[in-house]
């Protein structure tokens, strides 16, 4: 019996690990392998790592891909553009999402469930379609411009599409639920007596917000921010559809290297660099998160 349980436990605990190994670490290792390979024409478009010839075994490993992308400021700028986009939209998501999450968490139960469904409903439509819809709304002959011209507020259609702001709009619109849901998860557990207690002890509403509500929802803020920030750094579709030529984003650069230039090693090196730069904030976040929970549970 105990053996049977142990066996079950083993599968229960290790299934996620097998999943991770199969679908995360192996592909990652493959990408890493390509990133240190030498590029060449052919299929696949890189040289085999180990080659046997008359001179014996030759190992074709190079760091030149990494050296190349770090020496050309073009890649760095696109990465910074993406970081900038991710930071800005995370902040905007937080500012919009926090009050919404708070309101949903503090609504009566029947209303709360309805609001949660409303938050999730957009996911039932294809993400691509929803971003494309923004194109229709924002374009020169789009809904907004048509209305503004009709009411005589403007003569010429505003150019709202194909710039950095349109991308931010699209990203915020798409990722807002990922900010709201973890925040909601923390705020719904929040004891409202704490707000009353703070007020009773003499703290005005703003002070209560700063001294009590924010610190206690910090894990939710961190979780939501990470869920928005990390995917936005590599976001490709939204900048492609709504962005213009004013700014190049990291995801788009990787796409171009892969499919336009067919330089897989450079593309892989870019992807790996992106991951390593992101891993640092994630580790910091995890440490902070663990520390917080260790203290409070």
């Amino acid at each position: 019996m105990t053996n049977f349980l142990k066996k079950q436990n083993f599968w229960f605990v290790f299934t996620p690990y097998f999943w991770l190994v199969l679908f995360f670490f192996i592909p990652l290792a493959l990408i890493f392998k390509i990133s240190i390979s030498v590029s060449e024409w052919g299929m696949p478009p890189y040289r085999d790592m180990f080659a046997f010839s008359e001179e014996g075994l030759s190992i074709n490993v190079t760091l030149s891909n990494y050296l190349f992308i770090f020496s050309d400021s073009f890649y760095l700028r696109s990465y910074l553009n993406s970081l900038n986009l991710a930071l800005t939209s995370t902040l905007i998501c937080l500012l919009i999402g926090y009050p919404i999450a708070f309101y949903v968490a503090k609504s009566k139960e029947n209303i709360r469930n309805l609001l949660l469904i409303l938050l999730i409903i957009p996911f039932w439509t294809s993400f691509l379609l929803r971003v494309y819809a923004w194109k229709v709304i924002l374009q020169g002959s789009g809904v907004i411009n048509t209305i503004l011209i009709k009411f005589g507020i403007i003569d010429q259609p505003l150019s709202m599409l194909h710039n950095h702001y349109a991308v931010i709009l699209g990203v915020v619109y798409t990722y807002l639920p990922f900010m709201i849901l973890p925040l909601y998860g923390y705020l719904v557990k929040f004891d409202l007596n704490l707000i009353d207690a703070s007020s009773d002890l003499g703290a005005k509403p703003f002070k209560t917000f700063i001294k009590v509500i924010i610190p206690l929802s910090l894990p939710g803020i961190m979780a939501g921010s990470m869920l928005v920030f990390i995917p936005v750094v590599g976001e490709f579709v939204i900048p492609e559809l709504l962005g213009g030529s004013d700014k190049l984003y990291f995801g788009k650069i990787i796409w171009d290297e892969f499919f336009v230039n067919r330089d897989w090693p450079i593309a892989s090196a870019l992807a790996m660099s992106g991951i390593f730069i992101l891993v640092v904030p994630i580790i910091i976040f995890q440490l902070m998160y663990a520390k917080y929970h260790f203290k409070n549970e």
Binding site: D191, N193, L194, D196, A197, S198, S199, D200, L201, G202, A203, K204, K207, K211, V212, P215, L216, K295, N296, E297
Partner: protein
């Protein structure tokens, strides 16, 4: 005459279709330990939350120390509340919890430290200052909650079920500590509780509430001995209630078919005899007045006293006997015939 310290004047509050408070008026004196007692849903917590400022009354006024505080927000009211679940801040340690309210008062650090020190000493929290809230026991949490309020030197302290979260033994001990503390500090306390024993042992005066109304205000003795109606009599302690009939100018206890030789209470309809005032003996000799013959239906030995359920004339009532006497009356057991007696003045007659 002096104005009362806290004057509650005609408060009403409706939530949806339920009247939580129905024109409630109440005067509380300075340095009084006052309890609001009632079963759940009687409006006592709503009243407390309105006094604290968390709820707005539909009508009525609250005056504290002569000042109209009806429309003041909670953070401007010179009073504090201790919550039933204590509502301590989990992200702050004991000291930070206690000084939270002082930091909102723009005091200099020296005074804050001094006052925090005083209160931690008074409430025996010294040494726990840097602990997190989840690292201290329930009893300690209760004292931190108390300290957090008292350190602000409020004019009035509201306590919402202050002992409900403690286990029974700690509860009794804490009851006495709370009374001592209140006496020492002279702060007016208003305690909300559903526990009648707690209210009786803590309070100078108490109010019994039901369905948004106050049924009776008085000290514990008045309320126990002279309840205003059937509900209060039953709510506090055990009550033997008897209907009265006037037949041929004789006052008869209807249920026992027994005559009462009381001439002043001839127009009364209902009376109360508390069980501890009924003496029971095994049926041997027989007197004439204020007594009846009954059969013991149930015996419950409760340590300090024994409960007897007695049936007489088809009607059940209780008699309690101190066990100092029980040891002499051990012979009384199930199905014994007993004679029950009580003195004339232990009968309480209700006003109509």
């Amino acid at each position: 005459m002096l104005d009362p310290f806290l004057k509650i004047d005609g408060l009403s509050k409706t939530f949806g279709n339920t009247k939580a408070l129905d024109n409630v008026s109440l005067d509380i004196n300075k340095s009084e330990l006052f309890s609001l007692l009632g079963s759940s849903g009687c409006g006592k917590s709503t009243l407390l939350r309105i006094i604290a400022g968390f709820e707005k009354p539909d009508s009525g006024k609250i005056y504290l120390d002569g000042q109209d505080i009806t429309t003041l927000p909670p953070y401007l009211r010179p009073l504090n509340i201790m919550f039933q679940n204590y509502a301590l801040f989990p992200h702050l340690n004991v000291k930070k919890n206690i000084e939270f309210g002082l930091k909102e008062e723009d005091l200099d650090k020296k005074e804050i430290d001094q006052r925090v020190n005083e209160i931690t000493t008074l409430l025996e929290l010294t040494g726990l200052e840097s602990r997190k809230i989840n690292e201290i026991s329930g009893g300690q949490q209760q004292r931190v909650a108390l300290a957090r309020c008292l350190v602000k030197k409020p004019k009035l302290l509201l306590l919402d079920e202050p002992l409900a979260a403690l286990d029974k033994k700690l509860r009794v001990q804490t009851q006495f500590e709370l009374v001592n503390l209140q006496y020492k500090l002279g702060i007016t306390f208003i305690i909300v509780t559903h526990d009648q024993e707690e209210a009786m042992s803590l309070s100078d005066r108490m109010a019994i509430m039901k369905e948004g109304n106050i049924l009776q205000i008085g000290n514990p003795v008045e309320i126990y001995e002279k309840p205003s109606d059937k509900y209060v009599a039953n709510f506090i302690g055990t009550a033997n209630l008897f209907n009265l009939n006037l037949i041929d100018q004789k006052l008869i206890i209807k249920e026992l078919n027994l005559e009462i030789s009381n001439n002043s209470s001839k127009n009364k309809k209902l009376c109360l005899i508390r069980p501890e005032k009924i003496k029971i003996q095994k049926l041997e000799n027989q007197n004439t007045q204020n007594q009846c013959i009954g059969v013991i239906k149930e015996v419950a030995y409760l340590g300090s006293y024994t409960k007897y359920l007695i049936e007489s004339n088809g009607f059940n009532f209780y008699a309690f006997m101190q066990n100092e006497e029980v040891s002499r009356n051990l012979k009384i057991k199930w199905d014994d015939k007993v004679i029950c007696t009580w003195s004339e003045d232990s009968i309480f007659f209700f006003d109509d």
